[in-house]
Amino acid sequence: MSSSAPQLSRYVGGLTVYLRNFGAAVPEPELQPYDSGDIGFELEATLPGSNIPRPALVLAGEIWQPAGRRLYERVEYRYDLIEYPVNRRRAFHMHDPEAFRRHAGVLVHEHCEESLGDPACDHYFGLPFQTGYDALNALLSAWGQPGPLGCSRLRCMG
């Protein structure tokens, strides 16, 4: 999947609006050039609801590297839901591809913590997300819902 910088600007704005329309507070986003020549973004969305001990957060970010013809390809992402009020975390990540490819033959992994900071497994196998919207939908399906996240149903990578 390749995108131009203007397309990515609209994509980042779209993700921001998507979160804001769920009541999240999201600072004005920027498409950020990096010293590596890549571009990307990082969003921190504060979700509505309980703020004890802290409000729930969505942390989102992607890095896109040049792919010729003024296009970019996504090479890394992170999408985290940290629910401080219910003390749990769910996350979908793609980073350090060499380490994960060597260890498990995969590019992406997931995190799942029924109790924040005390995961039963460091990394779980998962499926890649085509877009940030898909990742947000998957994360937000857990937001504020009663019962466990279901980490025990995931396959541990180590």
């Binding site: 950020q32 990096y34 010293d35 890394e76 994960f100 260890h103 541990c156």
Partner: protein, 94 residues
């Protein structure tokens, strides 16, 4: 609605005086933001409902491009990467 964080399509229908199927159509059309909890279950955040009823849902826009160049972030920073020394499920002392 007081104290609630999410509304069911039935709750929204009752608040708006419309049918649940109309609410589901609004959700499917993307006019009313909702979270898909499972295959057939949707929940509408109260904040989304309030934005919908007050006409303050935001429209998509293009993010600006930062003028300054920053160091490339490390998304895995602080995370123990998999490898020979970090394999397996942690034995929980329980």
């Amino acid at each position: 609605m007081q104290g609630k964080q999410f509304l069911s399509p039935g709750d929204v229908a009752a608040e708006l005086g419309i049918s649940s199927s109309t609410v589901l159509r609004l959700i499917h059309d993307g006019q009313l933001p909702a979270i898909r909890v499972s295959e057939r279950i949707y929940r509408v955040p109260v904040a989304s409902f309030e934005k919908y009823t007050s006409g303050t849902l935001e429209s998509a826009f293009a993010a600006r491009t930062a003028r300054t160049v920053k160091p490339r972030p490390r998304f895995g920073a602080g995370e123990r990467l998999p490898g020979p020394t970090a394999i397996g499920v942690r034995a929980k002392a329980r």
